[in-house]
């Protein structure tokens, strides 16, 4: 089971990193989603992998238990990454509608003078 979980985390992470490096909006969103899945599984495994155990300390002898804290952490992480993905989609949509480009990197150097030199992006 350890092997399956570990390779799942590895595959999800590498796929996520690959997609993020594509630098186009849709692959990047998918890549960050995959990365957040990977980190959720990883956090879940951080408290040792056990099956069929209750998430509480048992008062009857030395029965084992599964660590409840990572489950709480994963829950928080899921909620946050869900919200962040929604924000990311909205920002991406806004950027795409404003600039007709879905590239993540700033193609034209933001340090260069504005075209025409009379710009006025903030003047409106």
């Amino acid at each position: 089971m350890e092997m399956i979980v570990a390779s799942a985390v590895g595959v999800l992470t590498s796929a996520g990193v690959y997609l993020v490096l594509r630098l186009r909006a849709f692959p990047v969103i998918l890549g960050l989603a995959l990365l957040s899945y990977a980190v959720n599984v990883f956090l879940f495994a951080a408290g040792k992998l056990t099956t069929d155990m209750p998430p509480i300390l048992s008062s009857y002898g030395a029965a084992s238990y599964t660590d409840p804290l990572p489950q709480a952490l994963v829950l928080t992480a899921i909620v946050i990454s869900f919200g962040m993905t929604a924000v990311l989609v909205m920002v991406t949509l806004g950027a795409f509608l404003e600039s007709d480009s879905d590239r993540i990197d700033l193609g034209r150097s933001e340090n260069a003078p504005m075209p025409g030199d009379d710009g006025g992006e903030d003047a409106k």
């Binding site: 960050l32 957040s36 928080t76 600039s99 993540i104 340090n111």
Partner: protein, 510 residues
């Protein structure tokens, strides 16, 4: 146990949704409440500094659960200082945004601003590393909204880049937390500070990995090489008051490195001691170099300021990377100074841009109406940022240089700071002469085809910049008392046993 410790988090958290829902159609009402709320946070922060100055580490147990099990907020000198710094900066920035009408160029500025304030104060006060992650996310999600406030093509694209890099950073943060929990079984900072030194050197591989991951995560926030590339694009495209507020955001990363990598992984922890400094120091040297080169090469004003912020973060990290109390004292002084210097530069740049028709290209243009005033303010802020006397930048850099004299890194550190300062001075002098000096030789405005003359900046619009420059002067004048407080602060940060004892002790619950 004082309930005031949680007030800087609760107050903006309650105010933000009220402003967002109830006052969304009335910008004046939102302004009044936002300013009043920030003023209240400032008052509370002053009280907290007075409370913390005594030297006690105060603990606030949420739900009154004892420390390693529940989440705690911890108030010590460093936290109190950072909260006060945030509150002062927030009030200045908010006044500027209100006076210049930036807050009316988009929706929900004040609600997002309050959420941002909540996240920053929470990150400074929390004593739990997972809670630190949560507050990071709060301040980030508010900063995404503020970053793209007002819209526009370049700003949206820069904002998208900023969101993506920070989401990747957050994922890395979670991976680091998973490793920390797997190796130590706790996420409470005090409990970590107790358990990490017990890890023997032979079993240290995983905890060293966790420490380096955390270092990378905080370096993303603090914009240290090699993860500094997002800063110039984000800061130079953000709305001016937001860019000024972001001056404290990089300091959140610096604060996290100081807190976690000193108290938990710092001196005394056999497994990880010295590792962070070995990596952070060269990175800081390169950061200073990139910042200085960027200042010299920038062709527009706001990227120039953004690169000077980068250089100042490098200088700060040079001091932090030594991981000795004397250097940390100097670093904390420079941290306070560089926050205000960066804010002053962004605010004055906004006033100059407003008068130049929204254009910040460093090219000779007809003189603006208030050339003398703007030039004086820009000159003062640039003097502070570049580190020339008489303002606090000079003292800050001098303290850092003096503190790094003792260690074996004097060559690289002195070369980086001195050469970097010289290049920064040249860059600012070039920018200032192009913007203000040469321009007076040209014809008066009015010859442009599309030129309704911009209104001169009113007293209320200039006041925040003047106050910030005044604060920089005050930092220099009162450097003695401040350095005394900061010396006690860094002593407290390096006092691992004191921190652990104060947080984990069972006494003193309410």
């Amino acid at each position: 146990m004082s309930h005031w410790i949680i007030a800087p988090v609760i107050l903006p958290a309650l105010l933000a949704p009220i402003i967002g829902f109830v006052m969304r159609h009335d910008i004046r009402l939102a302004r009044v409440f936002s300013l009043a709320g920030t003023l209240a946070v400032l008052t509370i922060a002053l009280g907290l500094v007075v409370q913390a100055a005594g030297g006690d580490t105060e603990v606030y147990r949420l739900g009154d659960w004892p420390a390693p099990f529940g989440i705690v907020l911890v108030l010590d000198r460093l936290s109190a200082l950072m909260v006060l710094l945030t509150a002062v900066l927030a009030l200045i920035v908010l006044t500027h945004a209100t006076a210049t009408g930036w807050d009316a160029r988009g929706r929900h500025f004040h609600a997002l601003f309050q959420f941002q304030l909540m996240g920053i104060c929470g990150a400074f006060l929390t004593g739990d590393i997972f809670n630190l992650f949560v507050f990071f996310e709060i301040l980030l999600i508010a900063s995404y909204g503020l970053m793209i406030h007002g819209g526009g093509r370049d700003r949206m694209r820069a904002g998208l880049q900023y969101v993506v890099i920070n989401l990747a950073g957050s994922t890395l943060f979670l991976f680091a937390l998973g490793v920390v929990y797997a190796t130590t079984g706790t996420l409470n900072i005090a409990d970590l500070a107790q358990k990490v030194p017990q890890i023997p050197l032979e079993e240290a591989a995983l905890v060293r990995l966790a420490m380096m991951l955390l270092l990378v995560v905080f370096a993303v926030k603090a914009a240290v090489f090699p993860v500094q590339f997002w800063l110039p694009g984000a800061y130079s495209n953000a709305p001016a008051p937001v860019a000024a507020l972001f001056a404290i955001m990089t300091k959140v990363g610096a604060y996290s490195i100081i807190r976690v990598h000193t108290t938990v992984f710092g001196p005394g922890a056999e497994a990880t001691e010295g590792l962070a400094g070995d990596w952070l120091f060269p990175a800081a040297v390169v950061t200073v170099a990139i910042g200085a080169a960027g200042v010299l090469g920038a062709r527009r004003l706001r990227p120039l300021i953004a690169f000077s912020v980068l250089g100042s973060m490098g200088t700060l990290m040079l001091a932090v990377a030594a991981f000795v109390p004397a250097a940390l004292t100097a670093g904390l002084y420079y941290l306070v100074h560089s926050t205000f210097a960066a804010a002053a530069l962004f605010l004055v740049a906004d006033l100059v841009m407003a008068q130049r028709g929204g254009n910040d290209t460093l090219a000779t243009r007809p003189a603006i109406a208030q050339n003398g005033l703007m030039a004086a303010l820009f000159f003062a802020a640039a003097v502070a940022m570049a580190g020339m006397p008489p303002l606090s930048g000079f003292l800050g850099k001098l303290l850092v240089l003096d503190a790094l004299r003792a260690s074996g890194v004097i060559g690289w550190a002195w070369a980086a700071i001195l050469v970097g300062s010289l290049v920064t001075i040249v860059g600012f002098a070039r920018a200032g002469s192009a913007l203000f000096w040469k321009s007076t030789a040209l014809a008066a405005p009015g010859d442009g085809p599309d030129a309704p003359a911009p209104r001169p900046a009113g007293p209320l619009q200039v006041a925040p910049v003047v106050v910030t420059v005044g604060l920089l002067g005050a930092l220099a004048v009162f450097a003695g008392p401040l350095a005394g407080y900061l010396e006690a602060t860094s002593g407290q940060i390096f006092d691992r046993a004191g921190y652990v004892g104060a947080v984990l002790s069972t006494r003193g619950g309410s």
